[in-house]
């Protein structure tokens, strides 16, 4: 996937996306930046954009765009 670098920084701030169905503002340009911004742990977490899972290896190369639906899933072990 192409990374769209931000020509002017202010355009990247306050982008509105939905995270786990909640409207959220972010300055993150990529999923990796979003993960860092949210302080997600290194293991046991998956992210999906518009209902498609994005492997961790592709987080840095996956841009976050205005209006996108992002789901963050933590593995749970209860049974």
């Amino acid at each position: 996937m192409t990374v769209y670098s931000c020509p002017e920084l202010f355009l990247c701030l306050n982008m509105k996306i939905r995270i786990n169905s909640k409207e959220t503002e972010t300055g993150a340009a990529t999923l990796m930046e979003l993960a860092r911004e949210m302080g997600l742990p290194a293991k046991g977490v998956a992210m999906a954009v518009n209902n498609r899972m994005v492997p961790r290896g592709e987080w840095s190369a996956t841009s976050v765009r205005e209006g996108e639906d992002i789901v963050i899933i933590k593995a749970v072990c209860g049974g």
Binding site: G44, A48, N51, P55, C77, G79
Partner: protein
């Protein structure tokens, strides 16, 4: 195999079901399913599989029934507190449907016994309460070429996926378990009891579909459920070619149990 008169009555609603019928019912009666964990998820799974007439149900669980289990582990009852879970569950299954043969394994799944146990069965259901066992089930199923359902529940939510040989495995999605200090367990943060039923009945349904060749399975996808928003969400993903277990160049070639037991019995559940 032909159904007896009694079986024709017992399974009547399956027999008249469009797309199911006697052929599917006979397949169920000839199938063997292994349940890893006879707890929250394992209870509804065992009850529905037994009622459906799965011929052999193997139960792996070294735990005993405690009072804190009964809020969600509906196969057990107050009088079974202190009993081995496999004994208590086996009794209930027998009461429900004498067609079912129950095989009891009153111990936990380990790297030494996992492959041997799983090899004997057609479908494996993980209803365990810790990552160590979930990864063991996943790894052993991939190595033995077995189909399985892996599920997890916590607080008001749950998640599950189905794996069949060739489809994405649990490690394609979560390559490794979370770090120990990140793991939350039902005994730490609680779980709404009915969530076990919601997720467990989906696992049982997937199992029946697999055994009878009915419909499309929950493969290459994770189904999540959240009771707070009352939303189910199906998230698609693909088999990861870089998966350490089932990818092009696997580095995991034998069963190794994660040393830590994040949701361990030491926490009294």
């Amino acid at each position: 195999m032909t159904l007896t008169r009694e079986q024709k009555l017992r399974y009547n609603r399956h027999l008249i079901l469009d797309g199911f019928g006697e052929q599917a019912q006979v397949k169920l009666l000839q199938s063997k399913v292994l349940l890893v964990g006879a707890g929250g998820l394992g209870s509804p799974v065992a009850l529905y599989l037994a009622a459906a007439g799965v011929g052999t149900i193997g139960l792996v669980d070294g735990d005993m029934v405690s009072l804190t289990n009964l809020q969600r582990q509906v196969i057990h009852s107050t009088s079974s507190v202190g009993q081995l879970k496999v004994d208590s569950a086996a009794e209930r299954i027998k009461e429900l449907n004498p067609d079912v043969q129950v095989v009891k394994y009153p111990y936990f799944l380990t790297e030494d016994n996992a492959a041997g146990l799983i090899r004997e069965y057609d479908f494996i259901i993980d209803g365990s309460d810790n990552f160590s066992t979930k990864y063991l089930v996943n790894d052993a199923c991939v190595m033995e070429g077995k189909a399985c359902s892996i599920g997890g529940i916590l607080r008001y939510a749950g998640q599950l996926m189905t794996h069949v040989p060739g489809s994405a495995c649990y490690r394609c999605l979560f390559p490794e378990p979370p770090a120990m200090n990140e793991v939350e367990t039902c005994s730490m943060v609680g779980v709404l009891g009915s969530i076990a039923g919601m997720l467990g009945t989906v696992q049982a349904t997937e199992c029946i579909k697999y055994l009878t060749g009915t419909g499309e399975l929950l493969t290459d996808a994770l189904l999540t459920f959240d009771a707070i928003s009352m939303r189910w969400n199906r998230l698609e993903f693909e088999h990861n070619p870089e998966c350490a277990l089932c990818g092009a160049h696997p580095t995991i070639k034998e069963l190794v149990e994660y040393a830590f037991k994040p949701c361990s019995k030491r926490q009294k559940d």
